[in-house]
Structure formats: structure tokens, C-alpha cells
């Protein structure tokens, strides 16, 4: 449930803008599945169920200064940090103009230097030490900049999680680690991934604060990320935040989740959808009318249509570029 007592910090306009971004991420993701099932794009890996956490957290960051190290589900984060809808579709199609990788990486492997979205890979959790490196560098340069890194709860079992958090804690680095706990790592449920109550219980082992929040509670997520951000800027070191949500789609378009969970389980969680809750709250509060909501949906749809068309028709990188950029061309 959305906690209404905490809205004070955020204006009506901001709340509506947040809603728009959540919805945009969701609608893009839905379109990706349609395109995949129609055979137009080979692969989708979804944000569905995690948009609220991603957008709420992003709003608590400084989008003009901070570095983000998103993982493959973080469509919400990268949209907030400035990737355009067109660019998102270009990467889904793997076209030359894709700013993430020019079609070299699989979809959802984000990276865009001008927006401080740090390039990511497929092996999970390698981005956690990188985030510590960005935080270390900005601390060395005495800049007021935070690095924000995300990962799944399954990925929090990798050695790099431990090593990266410990390093950041010892050196009191301005870093926020957000674990988006969606209860599954592909087919493996939380109970076979970890034996602790909360992923945030791992924080004490690094001597840093750890918080678990409802991943559908935008205002609470905003609050804890904002606090973590302040601590980071104050030189008080990193924070570990866990958002609890549920993966509403199969792991990816290559997965068949019905081999390990039931339709009912998924359906139950769909009824708790955080975006719908957020919209209801906005309507209840009088911040949004049904008509305005419809307008938003329309605008999003049009933007997505245009982006799809553009990306679909855009050229692939030429074969002669295959060997470009293995190394730089000299100079520093």
C-alpha cells in the first residue's frame, strides 16, 4: 500500500511525472514482448513488477551528476537518466544507432556515457565493484557525486557483491546498492538462493545500514534512497537497500516459467501491481483524472509506435565495423 503520509516531500507534478515514467517503462516492456512473439526481436528481459522501485529510487538521485550502474531489468532507471524511447527500441533491435552498444550487446545491456549510465555486461554482479570504483574516483576528486548500482537478489550471492560492498564500506564510499528482490532467480525461488530473512541483513556484515522496503511503495522507496543519498554525500559511506517485488513475467523471452511456478501465483501478484496502486492513489488524491490518465496512455503509445517504426527500419552496423574499437586509436 502507498503510504500517504509521506507524500509531503514530493509535489503533485513530480508524483504525476513519476507515474508517467513507470507507465512508460511498463508499456515499452509490453511492446517488446509483442515484438518478440511476432518474431521481430530475438530477446526480451523485463522490468515488469519493478518499475515502481526503479522510478522512485531514480527520483531520489541527482540525475545530472550521479552515476548509475543498472542491471538488465532497469529500464525505469535508464529512462529516467535520459535514454530516449527511440534509443531503447534501437537497442532491442540491435541496430547501428543503438547508443548502448551499436547492436553489439544483447538487449537490456545498458550503457550511455553522456547520461552517466555505466556500460554493463551479462555476468551478474560485476557492476558492484565498478560502482565502488566510481564512488572512489568521485570521492578522490572531492565531487558531490553518488554511484547507484542495482542487481537481483540471486545475484547478491556472487562473490563480487561481498567484495564490492566490503571495499566501499571500509573506504566509506558514496554508493547506494539496491537489490531488486523479485523472489526468483530464473527458476530458483528465494528460499533456495538465501537462508537469511532479508537481503538487507547482509549490511551489518559490512558495518553499513541495510533497509528492506516494499517494492510497490514508491514513497517509502523514495525516502530510503534519499536518506542513503544524503549519507553518501555526507561521507558516511554506502547503504544497502532491498526492494521486495515480484517478477511478473517469465525470466526472459527464452524462459517458460510454468515449469516451476503456477499461473495462479503469478496472477495473484498481478493484482498487487504497484503501478496500478500508484495511479489509484493519484486519482484518489485528485492529482490525476481518468481522462488525463487516458491522455498519458495515448501519448506513450504514440511515442512507442514511432520508436518501433524507427528502430525497425534503422540499418544494422555494417559488417566492416566488426573489428572496430577492440582497442583505442592512441592518445590518452
Amino acid at each position: 500500500m502507498v503510504n500517504q503520509t509521506k507524500q509531503a516531500e514530493l509535489s503533485k507534478d513530480t508524483l504525476v511525472a513519476m507515474y508517467q515514467e513507470m507507465l512508460l517503462a511498463r508499456r515499452i516492456d509490453e511492446r517488446m514482448w509483442l515484438l518478440n512473439r511476432a518474431g521481430s526481436i530475438p530477446f526480451v528481459v523485463s522490468c515488469q513488477g519493478q518499475e515502481v522501485a526503479q522510478i522512485a529510487a531514480s527520483y531520489a538521485l541527482n540525475k545530472d551528476e550521479d552515476f548509475v550502474l543498472p542491471y538488465y531489468r532497469d529500464l525505469g532507471v535508464v529512462l529516467h537518466f535520459g535514454m530516449t524511447v527511440k534509443e531503447v527500441f534501437l537497442q532491442a533491435y540491435g541496430k547501428a544507432e543503438d547508443p548502448n552498444s551499436g547492436g553489439r550487446q544483447m538487449p537490456s545491456h545498458y550503457g550511455q556515457k553522456k547520461n552517466r549510465i555505466v556500460t554493463g555486461s551479462s555476468p551478474v554482479t560485476t557492476q558492484v565493484p565498478h560502482a565502488a570504483g566510481f564512488a572512489l574516483a568521485s570521492k578522490m576528486e572531492k565531487r558531490n557525486v553518488v554511484s547507484f548500482v542495482t542487481l537481483g537478489e540471486g545475484s547478491s550471492n556472487q562473490g563480487d557483491f561481498h567484495e564490492g560492498l566490503n571495499f566501499a564500506a571500509v573506504h566509506k564510499l558514496p554508493m547506494i546498492v539496491m537489490v531488486e528482490n523479485n523472489k526468483y532467480a530464473i527458476s530458483v525461488p528465494l528460499s533456495r538462493q538465501v537462508a537469511c530473512e532479508n537481503i538487507s541483513d547482509r549490511a551489518i556484515g559490512y558495518g553499513i545500514p541495510g533497509v528492506t522496503v516494499d517494492g510497490n511503495d514508491a514513497l517509502e522507496i523514495y525516502r530510503v534512497v534519499k536518506e542513503a543519498h544524503e549519507r553518501a554525500l555526507n561521507g558516511e559511506g554506502p547503504t544497502l537497500i532491498e526492494t521486495i517485488s515480484y517478477r511478473l513475467t517469465p525470466h526472459s523471452s527464452d524462459d517458460d516459467d510454468m515449469t516451476y511456478r503456477t499461473k495462479d501465483e503469478v496472477a495473484d501478484h498481478r493484482t498487487l501491481d504497484g503501478i496500478a496502486q500508484f495511479r489509484d492513489m493519484l486519482i484518489e488524491q485528485g492529482y490525476l483524472t481518468e481522462a488525463e490518465d487516458q491522455e498519458i496512455e495515448e501519448k506513450i503509445k504514440q511515442e512507442i509506435n514511432e520508436a518501433t517504426d524507427y528502430a525497425e527500419n534503422a540499418p544494422y552496423a555494417g559488417v566492416s565495423t566488426l573489428t572496430d574499437h577492440v582497442y583505442g586509436q592512441g592518445g590518452e
Binding site: G94, M106, Q158, A185
Partner: protein, 327 residues
């Protein structure tokens, strides 16, 4: 005899070994109820239970390391790396531990673990679901690296790997999983680790290769036969340690050698093969040794045209054999 795909042959080998020896067990990510993301372990969780087909936390160093511990104890673990690309976090366990245990303990301990991993490109996997990783490990005494080229070989070699008393890295080409089909005996059989096999006998040009490229080489050889070019194909099968004798014989036989790999050219295991040939066959060669391999760029881009440009295929092999034949 049933016709099985490569992945079905893997699955059958696993099932039969689990049935044969209760020390055998499987561990890895999504190998249980899901049956593996490629279905290599399909049905095994149901048949053998969660104690013998273990879903592990998402942590490759632990998958390898726990397997190594269990192997030292006396079990026969078969660890799965979901993609070969994700073996990297486990390299310390594989190289520093598994490969060194017998030698460092002066034969007191040993480590009979099998580590399976799907490698290779051609399924739009982008940079991190496409790599050839054998070269990283092909310099580590104590380790064996097996890369079967067909369903029949996959079954027989996987059984040998599981029964081996030392650690075996078992690399399966993920595009072969569904692409390759052949008759595979239902009964138990094993194939020798450490031995290359002549897949085709020929007189004009020798192709030495392994894994999925054997399939492409066969296609090329069949086509060239109609032009009157006769191709010998040696399938390395075990890429470390190499079967030197077989390499020397195959190279000497025709005097014209084409080495093929899907891996990046520089530093691939073909370098070692070429070195063996240049040490032993100088006077038997009628042409310089030729290598056909991927370019020296990360394997491989996601975009289909770039992926295709990266990969070795039957046409490229055919062209290279023809050039050698005409040399």
C-alpha cells in the same frame, strides 16, 4: 537405435550415470525443476530427487568449489555452468584447486569432478553468451578439456568424463544442441579421453578441428568431394592435453593442413596444434599451415549480420580447403 539431438545425448548420458553410480550427482543453476535452461537435465530432478540434482544459489565459484570438495570426499559431481561465459568467476577454483589437487598432494588426494558448460555462438547471444573459452584453460596441467562434436561423441565422452578420476572440463556447443542429430546407442558405451578421432579419411588436405566446426568441415568436405578434392578430417575431441601422435600423423598424411576453430585466431588452441606440426612435420608439409578462425574481436556481436561475419561456417571452410588443395 534412436536418433538423438546433441542435448538429448547429453541428457541420456547424465541419466545413465546417475542410475549407474550413486556417487554421481548434479549441481548448478536451474538444473532442478527447470531441467536446465537448455534442458540438459530435463526430467532428472523428477527421477532422482533434489538431493542428486541440486539447484544451487547463483554463484559459480561455489558451484565449482563445493563440487571440488565433494569430489575430494569421493563423490562424482557433475557441475553445470549455465553458459561457458559464466565460468570466469570459478576459474580460481578450477585452475588453482581442481587442476592442482593431485599434484600438490603428491597423489594423496584427487578430484574427479566434471564441469559442463555450453560454449559457442550462433544463437544471437551477444558478447556474453557466445564465447569459446577453452584457450583460457588449455595450459593447466592436471585438467582435461573435452569438446565433443556430435551426439554420439557427446554421450560416450560425457560418460568417460564423469568416470574419470581427474577434473574434466566438458564443453558443449550450444548451437549443436538442436542442430545436430544422429543415431545414439541406448546401451552404455564410453569413448576415450585424450584421443583424437579421424572423422573422414582423405588424401589432399587435412582439416584439424573440434566441436561444432567438425560438422561444418564435414559439410565442406562432402561438397569438395564432388570437385575431386579429398579431405581428411581429424576431430581433436580432447583439446587439452592434445593427442600429439594423431596430429602428427594427420598432418603428415596430406602435407597440407587447415586448422579450424570458432575461437579468436590469436591465442586459440590452434597455436599449439601448429606448434606440434612445425616441430614434427616440417619435411612433410607441402604448404604453410593455414588457420581459419574468428577475428580478434570479442565473440560475438548480437546483431545478426555481425554475428554471421564473425563465425566460421561450411562455406569459409570449403574456400580454405580449396585454396590449400590448389596450392
Amino acid at each position: 537405435m534412436a536418433v538423438l539431438t546433441y542435448i538429448q545425448a547429453v541428457n541420456q548420458a547424465l541419466r545413465e550415470e546417475l542410475e549407474r553410480d550413486e556417487k554421481v550427482f548434479i549441481l548448478g543453476e536451474d538444473v532442478g525443476q527447470r531441467g536446465g535452461v537448455f534442458l540438459a537435465t530435463d526430467g532428472l530432478y523428477e527421477q532422482f530427487g533434489e538431493e542428486r540434482v541440486l539447484d544451487t544459489p547463483l554463484a559459480e565459484s561455489a558451484i565449482a568449489g563445493v563440487g571440488i570438495g565433494a569430489a575430494m570426499y569421493g563423490m562424482k559431481p557433475v557441475a553445470e555452468m549455465q553458459f561457458a561465459d559464466f565460468i570466469m568467476p570459478a576459474i580460481n577454483q578450477i585452475i588453482s584447486e581442481a587442476a592442482r589437487i593431485r599434484y600438490r598432494s603428491n597423489n594423496d588426494w584427487n578430484c574427479p569432478i566434471t564441469i559442463r558448460a555450453p560454449y559457442g555462438a550462433g544463437v544471437h547471444g551477444g558478447l556474453y553468451h557466445s564465447q569459446s573459452i577453452e584457450a583460457i584453460f588449455a595450459n593447466q596441467p592436471g585438467l582435461k578439456i573435452v569438446m565433443p562434436s556430435s551426439p554420439y561423441d557427446a554421450k560416450g565422452l560425457l560418460k568417460s568424463a564423469i568416470r574419470d578420476e581427474d577434473p574434466v572440463l566438458f564443453l558443449e556447443h550450444k548451437r549443436a544442441y538442436r542442430l545436430l542429430k544422429e543415431e545414439v546407442p541406448e546401451e552404455d558405451y564410453t569413448l576415450p579421453i585424450g584421443k583424437a578421432e579421424t572423422k573422414r579419411s582423405g588424401e589432399d588436405v587435412t582439416v584439424i578441428t573440434y566441436g561444432l566446426c567438425v560438422h561444418f568441415a564435414k559439410q565442406a568436405a562432402e561438397k569438395l568431394e564432388q570437385e575431386g578434392i579429398s579431405t581428411e578430417i581429424l576431430d581433436l575431441r580432447t583439446v587439452y592435453p592434445l593427442d600429439q601422435q594423431a596430429i602428427i600423423e594427420a598432418a603428415s598424411k596430406t602435407g597440407k593442413v587447415l586448422l579450424v576453430t570458432e575461437d579468436n585466431k590469436e591465442g586459440s588452441i590452434l597455436g599449439e596444434v601448429a606448434a606440434i606440426i612445425s616441430e614434427h612435420c616440417l619435411y612433410d608439409l607441402d604448404a604453410p599451415v593455414k588457420r581459419l578462425a574468428g577475428p580478434d574481436t570479442p565473440a560475438t556481436p548480437f546483431a545478426a549480420p555481425l554475428e554471421k561475419a564473425f563465425l566460421v561456417n561450411a562455406d569459409k571452410i570449403e574456400q580454405a580447403i580449396r585454396e590449400l588443395a590448389e596450392f
